[in-house]
Every structure is written in structure tokens, then in C-alpha cells.
């Protein structure tokens, strides 16, 4: 229905205004937008080939020629950070897409049908929550071997339970609403009810969690790479770059610092945007 679409566009605009009106939301949105743009056009902006080594230029401090300096193999750090943006963001977005979808589906089923399925599923998530996320991810990544795809698989494996739990809790609230009963009373089947009536009520929770999660997934991916369980060299991955520079941190600070800053800024950006989104939804629900 066209009117419905128009109203939902109006709703989205309202949400955007609410998010942007808070300082952190605005800052977060700017950072995230910047990251997205850089990951699209970063390779064009990069002044050098990120893989090109030049031993005569190794460990040069920041200069006009190399604004972020060069690393132990003489590669331009600015170029590598710019290329790394695309890698980190792709990992984060893909992982979130995979784990949020899995968690959402399992949470919907678990919360809506309850019973044994629910009980079994929730014990499985308990198992995941019993370990720190990084430790579990390390175990999975170590078992799969270092590559970017495996990093993503490892992080997705340990990320979906949060979504499943969150969605389930939300579904439990929605399930007993009269409109669900009313939908059943007109002869709607379970699938129709789950996707048309329950799903729209839990999407916002997933959205907020996903935004907040993007930041921590970037950290997690960087962490895995840092300890050698993530992207293999010579990938321009931020965590790996920090790791490679740590030998020189006392004398050649720039090797680790710039990719480290990139990690920090992107994690911060997603967190601020996520917080603002959550607040915006709260305002809307509390009104």
C-alpha cells in the first residue's frame, strides 16, 4: 500500500532526525559515513600500492611524502590503512549480517513456539555465554586456520547467540499481545504471524544491537589478526598492522599507532551511532 510506504519513510526520517539531533549520534553518524565512503573510494585515494615494498624507505617517520610514515618493509602506512578500511568494514558488515540473521530466525522460533525447542536452544546459547567471546573466537579461528573468511566464520559463530537471546526476549513480550491472538483468530498461520506481526516488532532491537556490534566485531577481528589467528600477512588488516609494528613501538611509534587509531575511531563511531539509535527508539516507544 502506497500510503503505508509513505508513512514508513516519514517514520525513518523522524528517526534520522532524532539520531542526528544528539551530539554523539551526529558524531557517530559522521564517522560511520566517513568509513563507508573511505571503504568505497579508499583505494582511489591511496597514494601508493599497499603491498609495494621498498627497503630503502623502511620505517620512515611521517612526512609529506608518507603522511603516516612507512613500515618495516617500506610500505606506505596511509595507503595500507585506507585499504584496510574496506577489509575491516566488510568483515564487520558480513559478520553482523550473518549472525543477526541466524540469531533473529532462531530467536523468533524459540520465543514464539517455546517448549522443548526453546529450552534446547537457550541452553546452547548459555554455553556460548559461558566463555568470553574472544576466547571462543580464538578457538574457532585456530581450528579453521588463518584467513579472512575463517575470521568471519569464527566471529559469526560466536556472535549469533546475543541476537537469539535478545529477539527471543522481545518475542516473548509480543507473543501474548491480543493482536497476535486476533491474527490467529482470522485464520493466519504461524509463518504469516511470525514474519508479518512479530518480526516488525523486534527489528528495531536487532538494528540497535547490530550497530553496537559492528564496533566490537571490528575490535574482535583486529584482535584475532593481532595474535596471528586472523588475516594472514601481507593483508593490510588493521590488527595485523598493529601487531607488526609492536616491535618498533618505542622508536617508530607510527607503525602501530595509525592503524590503531583507525580501529579506535571506527569502533567509537559505531558505538556512538548505536547508542544514539537505541535512545531514539526509546523516545519513540516511551512517547
Amino acid at each position: 500500500m502506497e500510503g503505508a510506504r509513505r508513512t514508513s519513510i516519514r517514520g525513518s526520517l523522524l528517526m534520522a532526525r532524532l539520531v542526528l539531533s544528539s551530539p554523539t549520534g551526529f558524531a557517530g553518524a559522521v564517522i560511520v559515513a566517513g568509513l563507508l565512503i573511505l571503504s568505497l573510494i579508499g583505494p582511489v585515494l591511496a597514494p601508493y600500492d599497499p603491498y609495494k615494498q621498498d627497503m630503502s624507505e623502511r620505517l620512515m617517520p611521517p612526512s609529506w611524502e608518507h603522511p603516516f610514515g612507512t613500515d618495516q618493509l617500506g610500505r606506505d602506512i596511509l595507503s595500507r590503512v585506507l585499504y584496510g578500511c574496506r577489509i575491516s568494514l566488510s568483515i564487520a558488515l558480513l559478520v553482523v549480517a550473518i549472525s543477526a540473521t541466524i540469531g533473529l530466525l532462531l530467536g523468533l522460533v524459540s520465543g514464539y513456539f517455546g517448549g522443548l525447542v526453546d529450552e534446547a536452544l537457550m541452553r546452547v546459547t548459555d554455553l556460548f555465554f559461558a566463555f568470553p567471546r574472544l576466547i571462543l573466537a580464538m578457538a574457532v579461528a585456530a581450528a579453521l586456520g588463518p584467513s579472512i573468511i575463517n575470521t568471519m566464520l569464527a566471529i559469526a559463530t560466536v556472535s549469533w547467540p546475543v541476537y537469539a537471546r535478545l529477539v527471543r526476549a522481545c518475542v516473548l513480550q509480543v507473543r501474548n499481545e491480543t493482536y497476535i491472538e486476533a491474527a490467529r483468530a482470522i485464520g493466519a498461520g504461524h509463518v504469516r504471524i511470525l514474519f508479518r506481526h512479530v518480526l516488525p516488532m523486534v527489528v528495531h532491537v536487532v538494528l540497535v544491537q547490530a550497530t553496537l556490534d559492528l564496533g566490537s566485531i571490528i575490535l574482535l577481528a583486529a584482535g584475532l589478526s593481532f595474535i596471528g589467528l586472523g588475516a594472514p600477512p601481507p593483508t593490510p588488516e588493521w590488527g595485523l598492522m598493529v601487531s607488526e609494528g609492536r616491535l618498533y613501538i618505542r622508536s617508530q611509534w607510527w607503525v602501530s599507532t595509525f592503524p590503531g587509531l583507525a580501529i579506535m575511531i571506527s569502533a567509537l563511531g559505531f558505538n556512538m551511532l548505536g547508542d544514539a539509535l537505541r535512545d531514539a527508539f526509546d523516545v519513540r516507544l516511551g512517547r
Binding site: 486476533a182 482470522i186 516488525p200
Partner: protein, 319 residues
């Protein structure tokens, strides 16, 4: 009435809760004829809604239908598969609820939800929209073309209940179960809604099971009336007969508890019993002014004292 449209026979429903087994329905007997409006009256917790949900097979997971039959056009609904039952809901039997605004999904437009009632039974497209619009007109809602794009929060309680009625009657069901449809509405709106239901079902020859705790409303709308107490139908009959000459002591008490000017208000002594541990024999016996020794031991059966006039009380049983 040769065979009634709906016949509930000896329906026993238990709820399994943390505190124990709640014996919510204890052998409910009820019938609704074709084109007839039957009111199911009783206090909160007497099992009216549970009866309705049992007929629709929409009880929660923790409920068990222990025994009984729900015969709809001769078919026992309790033996149908979930898919067969789904096809009956909305098409043959539909339901409206007490809180019309919470019976509409807040994030979906009115039109979307109305069309869904048709889509669930395979009717889609332009024709479905046309049907929705004409139904909205029939329930007295102005400007249906704009209304379909509205969200539930933009509607008043009365409008929302009209929408619900439209939704319930879209598929021209044979039976409409109305669970306290006017209790949450203002008195003036209440009267309009009652009138609307009455005229629409007469037009469509739909039977109604009208659940209410308001005897005034029941007297207004129904052909027949069934009185429930603590999970049992204690009396059933033509609405005039029951109001003129109530047979069961509980019905008498209930009618005496309606405030009228110039008459002293009579309250029924005691409290509604806990259904976790209901009284033995007749469930009303601890509060009954005419209690006899047999009432404590034997549960009275619903017997026909006159044609169409049933009561479950040892005063009339002769057993």
C-alpha cells in the same frame, strides 16, 4: 432448531500452572443455533473466555482439553488438524476482542490487517481491496479509502472496534464469537456497537456467541442466555424466561445484584472459589442460600426442565 450450529458438550479444560492444576472448565454444555445470538454471562474468571478460546482452539500451551466435544455443524473441532482448524478460523468462526485497540497490530496499517484476513484464506488483489472497502462502509466507517492507510493509534476505541467487526465478518463466518466487545468502550459508543453487531449478523444470518459480564448488555442483544459459574454453565434459556424467572440460585443472586433505584442491593455472600481447589459437588454450594446435603457430594447435571430451559441444580433435578 433441529441441530444447532455449535454445540459444546461436557467440555473440561485444565490449566497447568506453577501453583497447581487450575480446573477452569468443568463440563461446559452450551449450544448456539443458526442465526441465533446467545449470551454467555458470568463473573470474571468464571470461564467465559476460556470457553471461547477452546472453541477457536486458541488456548495457551499450558492448557489441556481433558474431555468434551465442540461440535460445529456436526464436526468435532477438537479432532481437526491444526491446518484444518486454521481454515475454519476467520472463515467459518471468527472472533472479536475486548480491547479493540490492542487487537490491532500497532505497526501495520488498518488496510493491511484487513486484507490479511482475506489473504489468509487465499483472496488477494484488487477484489480483496474492494471487499475490504465495502465492508468498512457497511460497519459505518466514513471515508474507507483513507482509513485503510491509517495506523491503529489514529483510531478511537469505537472506530477500532468497528474495524475489528469488519475484519471478523469479511469472510461471512457462520459464527461470530464476541468476547466482551463493548466493555472497554464508552456507554454511548457501546450502544452503537451493539446495534451494529445486531443488525449486521441479522443481515448475514450469522450466529453470535456474545460473552459479557454485563447482564444489561446480555438482555439487550441476545435471544438466549447461558449463565456460567466457576467453569460450569448453571443455567441456559430464553433471555425473557431467565430474566423473568431465574431458576438457579446463582442466577437469582446475580440478577438481585443489579443496582436498581428504590431497591436494596443484594450481594451474593462469600467469594468466587479458587479453581485450583474447587468445592466438591456443586461448585456453588458454599455460597448457595438453598444448599442441601446432596449439593456437597454430587455435582448436578444440566437438565432440561422445560423445552429449551436448562438448569444444573439439585433443586430441579429430581435425582
Amino acid at each position: 432448531m433441529s441441530s444447532p450450529l455449535l454445540e459444546v458438550r461436557d467440555l473440561i479444560v485444565h490449566f497447568y500452572t506453577r501453583e497447581g492444576v487450575v480446573k477452569a472448565l468443568d463440563g461446559v454444555m452450551l449450544s448456539v443455533g443458526r442465526g441465533e445470538i446467545v449470551s454467555l454471562v458470568g463473573e470474571t474468571g468464571s470461564g467465559k473466555t476460556v470457553t471461547a478460546l477452546s472453541i477457536m482452539r486458541l488456548l495457551d500451551h499450558n492448557a489441556r482439553i481433558v474431555r468434551g466435544e465442540v461440535l460445529f455443524e456436526g464436526r468435532n473441532l477438537l479432532q481437526l488438524s491444526e491446518e484444518e482448524m486454521r481454515r475454519i478460523r476467520g472463515r467459518e468462526i471468527s472472533m472479536i476482542f475486548q480491547e479493540p485497540k490492542s487487537a490491532l497490530n500497532p505497526v501495520l496499517t488498518v488496510g493491511f490487517q484487513l486484507r490479511e484476513a482475506l489473504e489468509a484464506h487465499g483472496e488477494e488483489g484488487e477484489a480483496a481491496l474492494e471487499k475490504v472497502l465495502s465492508m468498512l462502509r457497511r460497519v459505518g466507517l466514513p471515508d474507507p479509502e483513507r482509513l485503510v492507510n491509517r495506523y491503529p493509534h489514529e483510531l478511537s476505541g469505537g472506530m477500532a472496534q468497528r474495524v475489528m467487526i469488519a475484519m471478523a465478518l469479511l469472510m461471512r463466518p457462520k459464527l461470530l464469537i464476541a468476547d466482551e466487545p463493548t466493555s472497554a468502550l464508552d456507554v454511548t459508543v457501546q450502544a452503537q456497537i451493539l446495534e451494529l453487531i445486531q443488525s449486521l449478523v441479522r443481515e448475514m444470518n450469522t450466529s453470535v456467541l456474545f460473552i459479557t459480564h454485563d447482564l444489561g448488555v446480555a438482555a439487550e442483544i441476545s435471544d438466549r442466555i447461558a449463565v456460567m459459574y466457576a467453569g460450569v454453565v448453571v443455567e441456559q434459556g430464553n433471555v425473557y424466561d431467565v430474566f423473568e424467572e431465574p431458576l438457579h440460585p446463582y442466577t437469582r443472586g446475580l440478577l438481585a445484584a443489579i443496582p436498581r433505584p428504590g431497591r436494596e442491593l443484594m450481594a451474593i455472600e462469600g467469594e468466587v472459589p479458587s479453581l485450583l481447589n474447587p468445592p466438591s459437588g456443586c461448585r456453588f454450594h458454599p455460597r448457595c442460600p438453598a444448599v442441601m446435603e446432596v449439593c456437597k457430594r454430587v455435582k448436578p447435571r444440566l437438565v432440561e426442565v422445560e423445552p429449551g430451559r436448562l438448569v444444573a441444580c439439585h433443586l430441579y433435578g429430581g435425582e
